[in-house]
Chain length 518, copies 2
């Protein structure tokens, strides 16, 4: 059965659309505290620069690109009597060009830093880089050249690749709020550049299919490029590559051979169910949904084994659930809420596809878990989810997931949100991924204006700081916050941050009905 | 006519013979003052090494190779969740692995240093390096790898390339002096690895066709691989790519497009004539010799323009003649001798191919230049060529070229050699190229035993110090002497040092008749 799923997935490998992009021109990167990570690009006039030892140039392609770079090296003054050694550095954002790579202190491998050291033996030459890069800026520096000749770089261009079908993308009506149009445009760019032969989390890093990220990408893609088959492919991949214990794994590698990572995250496993539910809602594809529903049920059985006698999730050691990149975050309450949310959607899917026995079974779990949550996790005095299971740690994510799980009714939910926003000690949200669920929570509570203002504040802030694509991590209070101990390694086009397009387009009419402020 | 020559040359591009070579094993490089540049390789047992961050391994291919490296990267412990960044360093000799490349202080571009920095995105992987390298040793170092997995390197191998037809190579009789057998074997290895689609000077650096080097390579090749057509190709290349002033240029690039360098060296231009003479002697190819003879005559006319009224070469500014890589060497006397030597051979060629008018013209030049040399360049009191034209600088090369030019008779020549060897102040010989002409001089004087002893001392010394191929520069008194201010950049398989095979094989019977020492 696993092989059957993988075969179905492999039949759905999408074609990649290619485009040739020329740079806008050359730039310098300069300090500016008002911009993202303290720097920005300003136009320069280096296009015709003649290079000798140590010289460098920065090309600006005008927007975030994913693809393959090539350029010509011309020779000047004399024949090239020695190879030329170049260092090519790619930046999704100016900071990656501005910073000193050698000072990297992060915990992820520095092999992710997008640089290439290249020795070109014969010049003039056409240089074609074999590796795919994600970037707006390209710095070319001459590390070593003979004193007897100089070079010029010309005809630099990138062949971009994406599986996103841009013909399906409808622009927002012109009279839409201009800030939302801009945010939506950047969301589409972000998602498009992550859409390759799977939904990659980020084209710079990790360049692979993560289950939690997939759920958000698919959700947004239904409103943008509508590559339903790419979602289907990814669902079949997760089904075919599930673990020996029938769990959906956290992430999958396509190359060199299809394989599952051995990272297992409880929330990511359950997000398979949510994504399958969303997929059926978007496509009505009964055949796929029925075929993959048993995999969803196996996630529920795995979940059931992780509940204590009171129907509360049992906390595990190590990196057992993702929830958010937030230091020391206690995750039981969030996981409880997320689980209810997932089981609820599994139940709704069961009902839609006529799996009545399973529906009843699932509804029972949802009820038990909701009841247990109110009893054991909610602190009535505080009006917040704060409890011993999480060592009495207060976090925004706990509240968000409990509200999304419908553990409390709308009015209590709205109170909780008001309450938590005032509380500066609560563990905050770090990634756009968790910010998504916060916004989803606001829409779910019907406080549309708050939701839109939140999008404008959080994503709009990235735009103000110069974003061409939305980032993996953004904490407005601390730009330098990094789950990896160095922002240099961040992915700055990260698909889990593309969901404002989903909200703007799904709730378009409701957003339009918000009365204008006087 | 130039195009015709180039077309003829291009029809003679030789096929490259390929061979797969596996390493002997792994080694460490350790200090040892008795070995070349203070270090040597010793076997290690790292073949099955597991690599994490910073680990390295050194493979030993057992002999000097020129070709293309490939290897497998296996993944251990976990799926590869990040690219791996490798630094691959190639060494013709242990020192290139032992030294710290970052400390390079030479005047040639460091782009010649044979390193490759490689980022491999997906692992397991087969890595094939596109660039051709010259090496015996390969160091692979992991610059960056994720903490979550390790790698092993396996199936490392090189596909060697050469145009030398090894089927033509006859081994020396078994009962030949064993030291000469060893020197001859290394000469053949050196020449073979420089034989590509032209006779390259060195496969590490400069990887191109130099006229002076070609003369020695061709001379030796007639006794080893007998690739007559490769010599013919190179003679046509120099003929087709001569300068606007009809001079044969010093060197030629094949890639990316055939082109002449703008370096012009008087001795190298004249070596075209010598090489054409040698070629006719070796092949009796009348058609080629007649076709290219006019080019040789143009070099003579150029020479005639550079003689003063007394028939002495006029010294020029800058790098006007090569002679040897010897600091501050004064070159008029050497150039005078070399010119006579070249005109003499041009005359002999003219006679052989029936160009009698030119023969008479040439003989006249030889006579005039010899007479002038004795009158103006020889110091009778000292019994040496020392004169105002060279600012009274005494050099071995002046004596050698005057003897080879038959300016003095045999007995005077022998006296001069005795004389100069005692004189420690004389400018000494630096490159094996000039050492060749010293040995040629000894054979020319018929002092065969001295010649053989000199070969055993100079080339034999390189063998004792661990040479697998003979070096571009070797000064026994100062191993660290470098015309480029850093030995790191030296070519250690340099064809101009391959000529002992020519001497040993040409003078084989005479060498065998040297009475054994008691």
């Amino acid at each position: 059965m696993k092989d059957l799923f993988i075969n179905k997935a492999e039949e759905l490998v999408p074609p990649l659309y290619k485009k040739e992009i020329l740079p806008l021109g050359t730039v310098n990167i300069v300090s500016d505290a008002n911009y993202h990570l303290g720097c920005k690009s300003v136009a320069s006039n280096d296009k015709d620069k003649v290079f000798t030892n140590g010289d460098e140039i920065i090309w600006d392609f005008g927007n975030h690109c994913v693809g393959y770079l090539n350029f010509h090296i011309e020779v000047l003054h004399n024949p090239a009597d020695a190879p030329v050694k170049l260092e090519i550095t790619f930046g999704e954002v100016p900071y990656e060009i501005f910073c000193n790579n050698a000072e990297y202190t992060g915990i992820l491998s520095s092999s992710w830093i997008q640089t290439e050291i290249l020795v070109v033996d014969t010049i003039p030459s056409i240089v074609r880089l074999n590796r795919r890069y994600a970037f707006r800026y390209v710095k070319v520096k001459v590390l070593a050249i003979s004193r007897n000749y100089s070079i010029k770089i010309s005809d630099i261009r990138v062949t971009t690749v994406t599986s996103a079908n841009e013909h399906n993308l409808k622009e927002l009506p012109e009279n839409t709020d201009s800030q939302l149009i801009e945010i939506d445009r950047i969301c589409a760019q972000t998602l498009k550049n992550c859409m390759q032969t799977v939904y990659e989390d980020g084209p710079k890093r990790d360049r692979r299919l993560w289950m939690g990220d997939l759920r958000l990408q698919a959700l947004t893609d239904y409103y943008l490029f509508k590559n339903y088959d790419l979602v289907k492919r990814c669902l079949y991949l997760f089904s075919g590559l599930r673990s020996a214990s029938e769990r959906v794994v956290a992430c999958i590698y396509e190359k060199p051979n299809l394989c599952a990572d051995n990272i297992m995250l409880m929330d990511y496993s359950l997000m398979f169910n949510v994504a399958l539910f969303d997929y059926f809602e978007a496509t009505n594809d009964l055949e796929t949904s029925k075929e993959l529903f048993p995999i969803a049920m196996k996630q529920i059985y795995a979940l059931r084994n992780e509940l204590d006698k009171d129907s509360i999730i049992i906390k595990q050691e190590g990196w057992w659930a993702f929830i958010d990149w937030c230091d020391d975050l206690q995750k039981v309450t969030s996981m409880q809420g997320l689980s209810i949310y997932a089981v609820d959607r599994t139940a709704r899917l069961a009902k839609s596809i006529g799996m009545n026995t399973q529906y009843n079974e699932l509804i029972k779990i949802v009820d038990d878990m909701r009841t247990a949550s109110i009893k054991h996790l909610f602190n009535k005095e505080e009006g917040l989810f704060i409890n011993k299971y999480d060592n009495y740690q207060l976090s925004i994510s706990s509240q968000v997931w409990m509200i999304l799980a419908d553990v409390v009714d709308r009015s209590v939910g709205i109170e909780i949100i008001k309450n938590i926003e005032k509380n500066k000690d609560a563990k905050c949200l770090v990634t756009p991924y968790m910010h998504h669920y916060f916004v989803e929570c606001l829409f779910h509570l019907g406080i549309i204006e708050d939701a839109v203002n939140y999008i404008k504040a959080y994503w709009g802030d990235m735009v103000k700081k110069g974003a061409d694509s939305f980032w993996e991590v953004y904490c407005p209070d601390d730009e330098w916050l990094s789950p990896y101990n160095d922002v240099m390694i961040h992915s700055f086009c990260h698909a889990w941050s593309c969901t404002p397009s989903y909200f703007i387009r799904k709730w378009y009419d409701e957003i339009r009905s918000i009365p204008a402020k006087s």
